[in-house]
Amino acid sequence: MAEAVVFYIFAALILGFAVLVITAKSTVHSVLFLVADFLCVAALYVVLQAPFLAVIQVMVYAGGIVVLYLFVVMLVNLKRPPELHADPRRLGRLGLVMALAVFAELAAIGAYGWLKPSGFDGSLDSKNIEQVGRALYTDYLVPFEVASVLLLVAMIGAIVLAKREQ
């Protein structure tokens, strides 16, 4: 019961913040809403018995990535709002319609799921971090290393791209 309440509240927050993110006039505002959204998602992770992911979400997303966005937003202080010039060939509304259509379909699929409800039978014990760590460093060691290499490359690439060539 309490779980349902928590879920519905956070779900509403998530969707609301998401809407705000994509509708906010000021970029900085949407960044803030994004942070809030991520925090809510993190809370939802806690509900899903994934505290480690929740913390990682906060630390990496909210604490790292979005800060990056914030920097860029601050560096890109625009003389004129970016949305002025609009290309007539862009089919924004069609995209909106299509997105809604796809969502309708997915919802329909979900509705099928409602007919035969499946509760959370399996449950993760409290030693969540240990499990994740084991999985990362044993079964998924190679993907883990590859991900680290990917991050390194991304870092170098970002430095090279952002470097002001003198």
């Binding site: 060939r89 089919l91 924004g92 299509m98 796809v102 379909e105 997915l106 329909a108």
Partner: protein
């Protein structure tokens, strides 16, 4: 004796060094020394081999060494369908004939080298070295020719001497006449070589081998083609064509007189002593083949005597001293072929040797005379030189007496032997030969008279009469040489030649005197040593009793096997044992087949009134005849000499009167029967015409075809170009145009707006989810 392969290599070495290094760097002295040293070495080796050969038994005097394999066996089909292995070793064969030849070549060659050191003194350094290089090279090839144990090696020498004679005749290549003469000699020789090489092909296709001894065995086991004209006759005839080319017989003798354009030592060495006798040697080497084809023998005899006669008649009226000698050479060669033709191989070879001596002597003397007269060769401007060059006079007189056949000089024995055998064989031939001998004596003594006797008719010179030989020795020689080279020059009158020239003269004179003594006929209580010595080389030949043939075969059977084993040892493959088998198989039937052959020959001989060679052993019936013939020939010689003396010394006007009386004949003779003109008109003109025709054919048809094909190529390429331009390119451009036009429509899709692309992705997602829904 196992070192005989070294004999040719020594002059080859000299030629190589002189030709490659010497021409640039050697002084005259070094070049001459090197050449003479190599010749001396060759001579020493030859003598050593010769005496070693003498130590063997008279029938075992045969030695073959095959240091290398030249052409390893390649199987070829023979005339009778069987397969013969064509393998040619660098084989050298030493038997009495080749032993005599190498002695002649190296000995006389050595003397002439020495002579040339003085004679060519006036040449420039490079030309000097070049001359000796040529000379050495010639000796090398000549030795290859005489030492080769099969036709191919012999042919190498054969061609090589031809080449060298071309080089040496054209030695003064800046003189057009000289180079022309060289070319003439070369081309005429080619004609002969054509016959020779065809004969070789035929021999191989018939006998399956080219080894002399094996060919001889195989041929010896064949029947004598007394009736009709068989394979052997064709072979021998072809070989004889080669011989006529090399030995200047009718109809190919025309090159020899022109060859006198070369330096005198060359004339002496090549055109008197060695090369021209190659033909004779070759015929003697293949005596077995020849003696099995009487027709060819007949032809050889007739050609020989005809050549001798014609050349002698021409020699009667020539005024150029060297040309006289040249024609006498031709006629003497005719004598040799006559001997060969009548089956007197030994006599022919004997005459070859003696002739080599006295003719070389005569040529060298004439060279000395020309040297003394500063290049003057016309006898009408000589005369009375007796007191100016006594050594030359004496030696030349000896040579003349020798060639005229005055006993006991060498020429007498050999020529008399030939005449005797000719008499036995055919009276007509004998008659012609006697007349020729008379003319020989006449023109030789005419030459002597015009040159040495009578009054001096040459150009005036400073201090005529007053002349010390001592003070005018060397300098004059060089002066005379400058004249010889250029034709004019400061000249102090006739004078004796330097030592290097006179010493060879003396040596050769001795040789000309004593050379005949090895062949003193039995009629004069002499044992005809040379005959017995040379006999094995001609064995298995028509002449020769049964026992001799058998013994000869017994003698050569081991040799054949030995040669075969040598071949096997040297060229290690299965076929190598083939000659051995052939030799043994040939020798086994040879013993009785020879008996048969000898019997037939006896019949043929009696029917042809040719007594067996064994006559000198058995029949004393012809002793009186032989003596009579000797006296006759001596008489003939003396007559000719006296007539000549009377004509040209006592009362010279007689000669002129005779010349006027038979002006026509005289003109014909002095124009050499217009043979050169005839050849010019026929062969050369025909060749030119055909060449011109071929040229026209080439220009019109061949070039036309080439140009036509070229034009065709051009046209086809132009056509393909058109195709390419309009069809292929058109297609490509069409496709490009279609794409371009189409892109006008489709490129609208590429707006450059990422969101539109994302929209397409979204469409895709929508489609897949829809499919999922439908499939549920």
């Amino acid at each position: 004796m196992h070192l005989i392969w070294l004999i040719p290599l020594l002059p080859a070495f000299g030629a190589l060094v002189n030709g490659v290094v010497g021409v640039r760097y050697f002084s005259k002295r070094t070049a001459g020394l090197l050449a003479c040293a190599t010749m001396a070495g060759a001579l020493a080796l030859s003598l050593y081999a010769f005496f070693e050969l003498l130590t063997l038994g008279p029938e075992a005097r045969e030695y073959v060494v095959r240091p290398l394999t030249w052409i390893s066996a390649l199987p070829l089909q023979l005339k009778d369908g069987s397969i013969g292995s064509f393998s040619i070793p660098w084989g050298f064969r030493l038997d009495p004939l080749s032993a005599m030849m190498i002695l002649v070549v190296t000995g006389i060659g050595f003397l002439i080298h020495v002579y040339s050191v003085g004679y060519m003194h006036g040449e420039s350094r490079g030309a000097y070295a070049r001359f000796f290089a040529y000379l050495n090279l010639f000796v090398f090839f000549m030795l290859m020719l005489v030492l080769g144990d099969n036709f191919v090696v012999m042919f190498v020498g054969w061609e090589g001497v031809g080449l060298c004679s071309y080089l040496l005749i054209g030695y003064y290549y800046e003189k057009k006449s000289a180079s022309d003469a060289g070319k003439k000699a070369f081309i005429v020789n080619r004609i002969g070589d054509w016959g020779f090489i065809i004969g070789m092909f035929l021999i191989f296709s018939v006998f399956g081998t080219l080894d002399f001894r094996e060919v001889a065995n195989a041929a010896g086991s064949m029947p004598v083609e007394s009736a009709g004209f068989g394979t052997l006759s064709v072979i021998t005839l072809l070989l004889f064509v080669g011989a006529t080319g090399k030995s200047a017989q009718i109809p190919l003798y025309v090159w020899l007189p022109d060859a006198m354009e070369g330096p005198t030592p060359v004339s002496a060495l090549i055109h008197a002593a060695t090369m021209v006798t190659a033909g004779v040697y070759m015929v003697g080497r293949n005596a077995v083949l020849f003696s099995h084809s009487p027709e060819t023998m007949q032809i050889v005899a007739i050609v020989g005597v005809a050549t001798a006669f014609v050349a002698a008649t021409i020699g009667l009226v020539q005024n150029d001293i060297k040309r006289v000698l040249a024609y006498s050479t031709v006629s003497q060669l005719g004598f040799m072929f006559l001997a060969m033709g009548v089956g007197a191989y030994a006599a022919g070879a004997f005459h070859l040797m003696t002739h080599a001596f006295f003719k070389a002597l005569l040529f060298l003397c004439s060279g000395s005379v020309i040297h003394a007269m500063a290049g003057q060769q016309d006898m009408r401007h000589m005369g009375g030189l007796k007191k100016h060059l006594p050594v030359t006079y004496v030696t030349m007189l000896i040579g003349t007496l020798a060639i005229a056949g005055i006993p006991p000089l060498s020429g007498f024995f050999s020529k008399d032997e030939i005449l005797f055998r000719a008499f036995q064989s055919n009276k007509i031939i004998w008659g012609v030969a006697v007349v020729t001998a008379l003319m020989t004596a006449f023109y030789m003594f005419r030459l002597m008279s015009m040159t040495f006797f009578g009054t001096y008719r040459g150009p005036a010179f400073a201090g005529a009469g007053g002349h010390g030989h001592a003070d005018t020795g060397h300098g004059h020689a060089s002066a005379g040489h400058g004249a010889a080279a250029t034709g004019h020059g400061e000249w102090h009158g006739p004078h004796e030649s330097p030592k290097s020239m006179t010493i060879p003269l003396l040596v050769l004179a001795v040789g000309a005197i004593v050379a005949g003594l090895v062949g003193v006929p039995a009629a004069l209580n002499g044992s005809n040593d040379i005959e017995h010595f040379l006999h094995p080389s001609f064995s298995v030949s028509a002449v020769g009793g049964t026992h001799e043939g058998a013994s000869a075969d017994l003698a050569e059977a081991p040799e054949g096997s030995e040669g075969g084993s040598k071949g096997a040892a040297l060229s290690g493959f299965a076929h190598a044992s083939r000659p051995k088998a052939a030799a043994s198989s040939a020798s086994a039937p040879a013993t009785e087949s020879e008996g048969i052959a000898a019997g037939k020959l006896a019949a043929a001989a009696s029917h042809e009134a040719v007594p067996a060679e064994g006559g000198e052993a058995g029949s004393h019936a012809s002793w009186a005849v032989e003596i009579g013939l000797m006296l006759l020939s001596v008489l003939v010689g003396i007559t000719g000499m006296l007539v000549a003396y009377r004509f040209y010394v006592r009362t010279p006007e007689i000669a002129d009167r005779l010349a006027q009386r038979w002006a026509g004949a005289h003109r014909v003779l002095s124009n050499k029967y217009y043979v050169d003109e005839l050849y010019d008109a026929t062969a050369i003109a025909g060749t030119m015409a055909s060449a011109r025709g071929l040229w026209v054919f080439d220009a019109k048809v061949v070039d036309g075809a080439v140009n036509g094909s070229g034009w065709l190529t051009l046209f086809s390429s132009w056509f393909s170009h058109v195709i390419d331009k309009y069809v292929v390119d058109g297609l490509v451009n069409f496709v490009g145009a279609v794409l371009e036009e189409g892109s006008f429509v489709f490129r609208r899709l590429q707006t450059g707006l990422i969101q539109n692309y994302a929209l397409v992705m979204l469409f895709g997602v929508f489609a897949f989810v829809s499919i999922y829904l439908m499939s549920r």
